[in-house]
Amino acid sequence: MSRLLGVALGVLTAIGGFLDIGDLVTNAVVGSRFGLSLAWVVVLGVVGICLFADMSARVAVVSGRATFEVIRERLSPRAAGANLVASFLVTLLTLTAEIGGVALAVQLATAVEPRLWVPLVAFGVWLVLWRARFSIMENVTGLVGLCLVVFVVALVLLRPDWPALGASALDIGPPPGESGLTYAFFAVALFGAAMTPYEVFFFSSGAREEGWTVADLGRARLNVLVGFPLGGLLSLAIAACAAVVLLPAGIAVTSLSQVALPVAQAGGQVALAFLIMGLVAATVGAALETALSSGYALAQFLGWSWGKFRRPAEAARFHLTMIVGLLVAVGVLMTGVDPVLVTEYSVVFSAIALPLTYLPILVVANDPQYMGEHVNSRVVNAAATAMLVVVVLASVAAVPLLLLTGGGT
């Protein structure tokens, strides 16, 4: 019974923890401009993150080596160094976006200027990193994050024309009034939002934090294969809400309050309260994960002691990295930069940096010295190699599309 409960808890946490500010904003922006015509990208992204998370968790559990130790060891010094710099900067950018996202979510509830919240939020995040137990941190943010199911409820309450909505999801291509280039740009952004590199550093290092063994591999796979697709369903519900309410009204999402509009219209104050709780939990959870990921990346690359399972004094440089990362994020947000804009850039840069971490994991997941009998099966390899093509395409296309479309405007 307690075993079943543990499995259910893992899956629920994976659902609640799937969404972060990048998914929330990008799906709403895309829904409000393109309807559901980019739904296929969410599906592709979910398949990608499932493969990637499954492989990296398996590598971490079986070999005991986390993602960045593997990257350092498998790539040439130059490629590995470039990889660290790119991944670390993208993770810091995402951390900045998440902390800004928490401040915006709290602003929705309190109407207090987000910049006043930023230092408080960062301090709160640090306090959790400093003191709380890893599993408690994971489970609380994941379970409260489930409040975002309110997007699905709102969609039902909005009584959309379901057949038409379904048909629009199959209608691939830019809607009238949008160019093919902006369509492609948002496809890349949406892919980056679903497949953010930090999720993988976090998932693989988290397996070590929680002391998973080979016996837990089945459970890890279940968490990924059930939790992430259901999380992807929430992403689609966000896009659908925006498509039903905002697209016909001609409102393009540029702020978090507009993401909340369809929910407020459908469910009133109660739904809004759930939404804000879910938003705060999802962004706080992701802020914790990105802060940890910045520490994981640097510490694992340089061979430092790391992990929340150790006392802070036993992983001193790891904790110092996270403190500096949080201070940088606060500094950036205090300049008054729009957190939604930071989010939009962070997902695009995520797509750019993705192949750097994806390829080494794919290689090591096939290395018998690391993996023994747990190397990739042929089916996983075929899917993962096909996904590699997509990942590289998105990465190569991202910068030209960013410049050509002026960030999708």
Partner: protein, 151 residues
């Protein structure tokens, strides 16, 4: 429980291939230092990460007095020490860091080489962890809760 699966073994080069050099005499397991040692994680006796293998100090058997790289060519080589320091940088941009900047972990304290390099001593006793100790003693330990066990 996963079923045992049939795996393709890596195809070995045919021994009669005339383009291959003759195989070296094998005294023990042959270790490709670049593949199996360089950049691997070094763990101390408690399994705590210490550093990474940034470089290796090598000595040619029979020419122990000659530390130049040329002495290694064509001879059996001993790994004398694991080096840690700014040599990742010098491996990228070229050049060589002065010896004083490199931390030596003598090979005598290495207990095992697997997917990581395991040491037989606690990391705190080694010079190479001085930055960790400095950050710990000057900063992290002084913040309230710094020595609190998280769980």
């Amino acid at each position: 429980m996963t079923r045992p699966r049939l795996r393709r073994r890596p195809r070995a080069p045919r021994p009669d291939d005339p383009t291959l050099l003759p195989a070296p005499p094998v005294a023990a397991d042959v270790l490709d230092a670049r593949l199996s040692l360089l950049d691997r994680q070094v763990l101390d006796v408690h399994g705590t990460p210490v550093t990474t293998v940034d470089d290796l100090e090598l000595l040619a058997v029979g020419r122990e007095d000659d530390a130049s790289a040329d002495a290694l060519i064509g001879r059996d080589v001993l790994v004398v020490a694991v080096l840690s320091g700014p040599s990742l940088l010098t491996r990228i941009v070229g050049g060589r860091a002065p010896r004083s900047r490199l931390h030596r972990l003598p090979w005598e304290i290495v207990a095992d080489v697997g997917v990581g390099v395991a040491l037989a001593v606690p990391g705190d006793l080694l010079d190479v962890t001085w930055t960790e100790r400095w950050v710990r003693d000057r900063l992290v330990r002084r913040i309230p809760g710094g020595t609190h066990d998280p769980g």
